[in-house]
């Protein structure tokens, strides 16, 4: 799941659960996750 797909689904789910105030927090989390994934600490399956 890309971060864009995750963020869209998370915001939609939060709204469905009556928690629209989560949107800015989820956007902040998405930024943190983006940085974490870019660092690629654990490597990818096709790394050589």
């Amino acid at each position: 799941m890309t971060i864009e797909q995750w963020l869209k689904a998370a915001i939609a789910d939060a709204e469905k659960r009556g928690l629209p105030e989560l949107k800015p927090l989820l956007e902040g989390l998405a930024a943190a996750t983006t940085a974490l994934r870019r660092a690629n600490f654990g490597g990818h399956a096709n790394d050589h």
Partner: protein, 442 residues
């Protein structure tokens, strides 16, 4: 009065545990309405314990440095027969059936428990303003936060309501309020002290430790918590033999002007006293917050999922919303964060190689105003929560021991903290180095 001073006076017959405990209880009775440091005061029990400690000493049984010492306990730890609220209505009706292991050890060391202190709800915050029992307030300015999450604990020591306190630290919750309130706060190495019988926030990063007035007092409480109270004495190496690393990049990038002045002055003072100081770096420092967030939030979400679903109205709104957000952390990103933790741990180990300790500020700014979402640093508005965690959370991720010492005050007389960080499982060595630093900074 410090634990050391109390111990001398006690053994020379100039004071008793009963009178010192009574003085602490009077300060609580006088000051707690304004400061909101205590959730539960155990006055009768404390007086009984103090009287018993005095009788024991008179009969020749001396339990060591904590004998008869009045202490407070962050209300995350079980004390048999009392509620463990964690600062939350979620735990309404709870009564602990037994003491947490560290409470047992404190009792064995002779400590007298005066009460349980206020905290940020479930320790999930740095300001102590979100608590079911209302915000704790800074002793020097009641409009400001004492820091958190162990805010009530820090207040209790800073104001003489207790001579020491037991706190927890998952992102800085011992060191942050210690720095904000002008006392000493020790986070030992990860896993060094057991958290059995306490309410967790992140079982991956939770640490337990003391807040005290001095490094020597922290030593005494730390050893009592380890179960070897009084077994060894603290020795400080000469400053001329010490070499410090300062991680300037990232850690000194965003600092309030008063904090920067106090930190630079402290480092200069140590150099003038003969210590060596070199710059060191943490290459992935910019990823600390991302790693911390994914681990800490993932852990907190797992613990709180059931009560978020069944009794969400019992949480304070800000804590509930952040916990709900935490539930969206994906397993794959949690694992990435654990991998990042290993990298950061190696980098801190590397920064410590060739030096005795790292030096950095504890907080980038003095205590913030209660209710403030942002704080202005270098003419830029910064989020309070991010700023308060910025310089401490790395060592929760990596597990290195760290201690905060007072190192000055701001222009408006608010305390500033200096953080000293040591090698993993070398907390005793760190305390010796910190004592040497404290001796120079005064």
């Amino acid at each position: 009065m410090t634990i050391e001073e109390f111990g001398c006076a006690l053994r020379e017959g100039r004071t008793t545990s009963a009178s010192t405990t009574d003085a602490c209880l009077k300060r609580i009775a006088h000051g707690n309405a304004a400061l909101n440091a205590f959730i539960l005061v155990l006055a009768d029990e404390a007086r009984e314990q103090a009287a018993a400690a005095d009788r024991e000493l008179a009969s020749g049984h001396d339990r060591g440095p904590l004998h008869g010492v009045p202490v407070s306990i962050k209300d995350l730890f079980d004390i048999s027969g009392t509620p463990t609220t964690a600062g939350s209505r979620v735990r309404e009706g709870h009564i602990a059936r037994s003491d947490a292991l560290l409470i047992t050890r404190l009792r064995h060391a002779g400590a007298v428990i005066v009460g349980k202190t206020n905290l940020h709800e479930f320790a999930f915050g740095t300001t102590n303003e979100d608590s079911a029992f209302g915000p704790a307030r800074h002793p020097r300015d009641h409009q400001r936060s004492p820091g958190g999450s162990s805010g009530g604990s820090a207040i209790s020591v800073a104001t003489g309501m207790a001579l020491a306190t037991l706190g927890t630290d998952t992102g800085g919750s011992i060191r942050i309020p210690a720095a904000a309130c002008g006392i000493v706060g020790l986070k030992p190495t990860l896993g060094e002290l057991p958290s059995t019988g306490s309410v967790p926030l992140s079982r991956t990063m939770d640490h337990v430790g003391p807040l005290t007035q001095t490094v020597t007092d922290a030593w005494h409480v730390f050893h009592a918590l380890r179960g070897d109270s009084g077994a060894t004495a603290l020795t400080a190496p000469p400053l001329t033999t010490l070499r410090f690393g300062v991680p300037r990049a990232y850690f000194c990038d965003v600092l309030d002007a008063d904090v920067r002045r106090a930190f630079d002055a402290s480092v200069d003072m140590l150099v003038r006293a003969g210590a060596s100081v070199v710059d060191v770096s943490i290459d992935h420092a910019s990823l600390i917050a991302s790693v911390y967030t994914h681990i800490g939030f993932g852990d907190a979400a797992a613990y709180h999922a059931h009560t978020l679903d069944t009794m969400p109205e019992r949480y304070t709104t800000p804590v509930r919303i952040r916990l709900e957000m935490a539930r969206y952390v994906l397993a794959e990103d949690y694992v990435r964060a654990l991998e990042g933790r290993d990298v950061l741990r190696s980098e801190v180990d590397g920064a410590l190689s060739g030096v005795d300790a790292l030096l950095l500020p504890t907080l980038p700014m003095p205590a913030p105003l209660i209710g403030a979402a942002t704080v202005r640093i270098d003419d830029i508005e910064q989020p309070v929560r991010n700023m308060m965690l910025r310089l401490t959370q790395l060592f929760n991720v990596t597990g290195h021991p760290a201690i905060s010492l007072p190192c000055g005050v701001s222009g408006n007389n608010l305390p500033i903290g200096l953080q000293v960080v040591g090698g993993r499982f070398q907390t005793d060595v760190l305390l010796g180095v910190a004592r040497a630093v404290e001796g120079q900074l005064g």
